[in-house]
Amino acid sequence: MRAQQSAVHLLILFILLAALTAISGGGANGATPTQPPVAATPAAPASVEKLTVAVDAWGFGELNPVQNRGSTFLRDYYLSLLLERDETGAIVPMLVTEWKGGPEGWSLTLNPDARWQDGSPVTAEDLRFTFEAGAGDHTNPKFQSYPQFKGVWAASRIREMVDEVQVIDPHRGFIKTTRPDPLFLWAFSGIGFHIFYTGPKDYLLKVGHDGYLANPLGNGPYKVKEFKPQDRIVFERWEDFWGNYPYYKKPQARVMEIILNTDDAARFALLKSRQADVVVNIPYITAKNIPRERGKGPLWLQVLPATGNQFIGFIPLMAAQEGTATEADLKSPFRDIRVREALELAIDRKAISEVAHAGFTTPTGSIYFSKAIGWRPEVGERISPYDPARAKQLLKEAGYPHGFEAHIPYTVFSNSPGIKEWLDAVAVYWADIGVRTTYAYHPPGDFGPRARKPAREWRPLQFQTMGRQEHAAITVDAFFRENCTSGACFYTPKSNKLALQLLETFDEAEMLRLLAEVEDEILKDRLVLPTYNAATVIGYTDRVLSHPFPPGAAHWMQLYRMTLRD
C-alpha cells in the first residue's frame, strides 16, 4: 500500500514538473510551436484584413468630441487633429493646412478636402461649434450656448484662453485669444495635448449626445464599428477617407481592433501567442530580451521615450514660500541645499536605468522631457556623479551625520512602468548614507489632489511625473510658476517672473532663452531632483513591418501609420 502511495505521489510530482518545465521553456524571444519561422521583410500589401492591438489603458473611453471628461487616444482614429507631428518631429498639417499666430490670436485654414464620414465638408463652423459647445456652461456673450452638451474636460482652458471664434469663410477661422498666447496650438491642435477634436456641428445638433454614442460620426481614417467601454473597440476603415498626406492617409488594415487588458502577463501572452499584433506597455524586465528591430526573432519592439519626466519634489521649501509651512517643515532637513545635493549624489541613476529598468529609461538632469522643444542636451545629459562619500560628508556638514528618515508618496500613471523599481533602488542608495526611506503607492486620483496646492499633503517629498509635454513651455506652465495649472508648483520669485515672460513670447529664440533661464533657476536651488525620462515599450509580432511615429510621440502613436504583412 505504501509503495502504491509513493508511486502515485511521484507520478503527480513528475507530471507537475513536466508541465511547468514545458510552459516555462523559452524566454521572451524563444520560438514556440505557434510562431512561424522568421522570414525576410516582405513588401507591405496595399491592404490587410485586420490589426489587433492590446493596450493596458486608453484613457477616458469617451467618444463625443464636445462632451467628455478626459483624453483618450481612441479619438485619434475616427477624428482628426488640427495638426500633427511627423516621424521627424516636424509640425505638419492635418485638418488645418495653414496656421499663423500673433498677439491677437490664431488664423487657421482648414483643408478643403476634409470630409465627415457622411460626406459633408468639415468647415470653420464646425470648429467654432466645437469650441463653443466644448466650453460647457459658460458666460461668454460671444459664444453660442449649447446646454444639451456638458462640455469637454478642457472647458475651463477654452474659456480662459478663447475670447471668440470668428468664421471668415467656410474654410478659414480666426481664434481670438484672451491674451497673447504662444502656446495655444500646443494646447489645442494636437501637437501637444490630445484634448481637442473638431466635432460635426449639424450631426451633433441633430442626434444629441446619446445619438452620437450610438452612431459616432468622425472625419478620421476609421469608423467606429463596435465599442464596449473599458473592454474593446473595433474600427472599420473608411474607404473614402480624404487624407492624402504621407503620414495621414487611408490605413492599410481594414479592421483595427483595440483590446484593453490591464494584466501585464496576460497582455504579453497575447503577443507571444500572436492573438495580438501589437502590445503596448510591456514591463521592462519582460522586454529586455526582445530585439529592438524586426527580423531578429518572432517578436520585436520599439521604445516610446515619451511617458513623462519623473522627479522628486521637495515640498517644505514650497510650503515655506507659500506661507503654509508647519513646524515640521521649518525643521525639515530638506530645506538645507546640502542635504538635497547629498541625496542626488547618493543615487547612481545610470545604474538604475541600466539594471532596474533594463536600459529602457534615460537618467536626466533636466526638468524638461528629453524630446521637448527647449530641452538642452548639455543639461539633460549632465548627470551628477555617484559619490556616496561626498554625500555623507555633505550630510555631516548639514548636521545630519547619522542621517534621518524620509517618506516618499508616489503614483503610477498608465504607460509609466518602472517607478517601483526606481524607488526600491533609491531606498537602498539612501540607506547607505543613513537616510532611512519608506515609500507608499497612491492611486493617481488620490495622489494628484493631495499633491496640489492648497493641500500639498505629501511632505517632505513626493515622487511624480511632469507629464509628457512636447514643448518645455507647457511644462513650465504646468509646474514651474506660481499658480501653475497642475497645482503642484515649484518656483522661486525669479523663475516665476521668467515664466510669465515666457508665456507671452512668440519669438522662438527668446522663448528658448527664457526656458533655459527658468530651468537654470530651478536647478540652481535644487527645488526638484530630476530623475529619469520614462519610456513605454511597444511589442510587435513579425507580422508588423513598420510603425513610424514621432520621436517624442508623447500622447499617442499613430497606429494608422503601421504596415503589416498578410
Binding site: Q5, A154, A269, G445
Partner: protein, 309 residues
C-alpha cells in the same frame, strides 16, 4: 410559513438598504471622481466645473436622496466613467457575460467535484481517489489568477489551442474553457469534499445496505440511490457559490479580458463612477439576497424546525 417568508423578506430589504448606504458613503469618503481621474495638468477650475456639471458639488444628503429616488424610479443616472451612458444599461449589458462564465464555472466544478467525490467515497484510498483529491486540492491551493496565467501560457502561448482574450461574442464558446476552468477549479475541492463525506455517510446507512442486500448492481446503488440523498448539501453549496460568483469573478475577468460585471465594477470603482457602482452593487446585492432568501425558504419548506426556530 407566511410569517417566516415575511420576516425573511424584511431582513432582505434591510440588508439591501444597509448595503446601498454603505456603498454610497464609502464611494464618497474615498474621493470624488473628478479628482480621482484628472490628469496632473488638469486645472483647478476644470475640476470645479466638472464637479458642478455632474452634481458632485451638492450636499451629500441631497445626493443620497437622489440615489434613493433612483432605486424607486429605475433611473440610476448616467455613468461618469463610461461616456455618460445610462448606468443601468451599462450594467445589464455585462450581465450575460458574467452569467455565461459563472454558469460554466459552476457546471465544471459541480461535474468534476461530484464525480471525484463519488468515486472517492465508493473506492476510498484507491488510485482514482488519491489522484482526484490531489487534483481537487491543487485547484483550491492555486489562486485563480495564477491558474489562469498557467493555462494561458500552456494552451494559448505554447500549444496555440485556445484564445485567451474576450467574451463569447468575440471568440466563441471555446473562449469559455480557460476562464471557466480556472474559476471553477477552486470550487471542485469544496464540492468533492462535501460529496465524499455525504456519500460515506449515506453508503453506511441501513437503507443502502438493504438495497445492496437485495442484489442491486453497485453502480446503481452508488449513482442512483446514494448520490440522490447525498446531493442535498451540494445543492446548497451550488446556490452559495452562484451568489458569490454573481458579484463578479474580478480577477479571472481581468486576466482573460472577459467583459463581465466584475471587471466593469472594478473599473467603475477605480473611476469613482458612482452611478455604475451603485447600480451594480444594488443589483448584485439584490441577487445575493434573493438567492439566500430562496435557500432559506427551501430549508424551511424541507424542515419545519427551521421556521419554528
Amino acid at each position: 410559513m407566511r410569517r417566516y417568508i415575511g420576516k425573511r423578506l424584511l431582513d432582505g430589504v434591510i440588508t439591501m438598504w444597509v448595503v446601498t448606504l454603505l456603498v454610497f458613503l464609502m464611494l464618497r469618503i474615498t474621493g470624488n471622481p473628478i479628482d480621482i481621474l484628472s490628469p496632473p495638468d488638469f486645472t483647478h477650475a476644470d475640476r470645479e466645473r466638472l464637479k458642478k456639471v455632474y452634481g458632485l458639488d451638492k450636499p451629500m444628503w441631497e445626493q443620497y436622496l437622489l440615489f434613493t429616488k433612483s432605486i424607486f424610479t429605475g433611473d440610476f443616472g448616467q455613468s461618469l466613467a463610461f461616456d455618460n451612458r445610462d448606468a443601468f444599461a451599462m450594467f445589464f449589458s455585462r450581465v450575460p457575460a458574467t452569467l455565461q462564465l459563472t454558469g460554466a464555472a459552476l457546471l465544471f466544478a459541480l461535474t468534476l467535484g461530484v464525480m471525484i467525490g463519488v468515486i472517492s467515497a465508493a473506492r476510498p484510498d484507491s488510485l482514482v481517489d488519491r489522484v482526484g483529491k490531489v487534483l481537487a486540492i491543487s485547484g483550491q491551493s492555486m489562486p485563480a489568477f495564477w491558474l489562469g496565467l498557467l493555462f494561458i501560457l500552456l494552451f494559448s502561448v505554447h500549444l496555440g489551442w485556445l484564445p485567451s482574450v474576450g467574451g463569447i461574442d468575440r471568440i466563441g464558446y471555446q473562449g469559455l474553457i480557460m476562464p471557466a476552468v480556472s474559476l471553477g477549479w477552486y470550487l471542485v475541492a469544496a464540492n468533492m469534499r462535501i460529496v465524499r463525506s455525504s456519500m460515506l455517510e449515506v453508503l453506511d446507512s441501513d437503507y443502502i445496505m438493504m438495497v445492496r442486500a437485495k442484489g442491486m448492481p453497485r453502480r446503481v446503488v452508488i449513482w442512483k440511490h446514494a448520490l440522490r440523498n447525498a446531493a442535498i448539501p451540494v445543492i446548497t453549496l451550488f446556490f452559495v457559490s452562484l451568489a458569490h460568483l454573481l458579484s463578479g469573478a474580478v480577477i479571472t475577468e481581468t486576466i482573460f479580458a472577459w467583459p463581465g460585471v466584475g471587471r466593469l465594477l472594478v473599473e467603475a470603482i477605480f473611476g469613482r463612477d458612482y452611478a455604475t457602482v451603485q447600480v451594480a452593487v444594488f443589483f448584485v446585492s439584490a441577487g445575493i439576497v434573493t438567492v439566500n432568501i430562496l435557500v432559506d425558504l427551501i430549508y424551511a419548506w424541507l424542515d419545519p424546525r427551521v421556521r419554528i426556530a
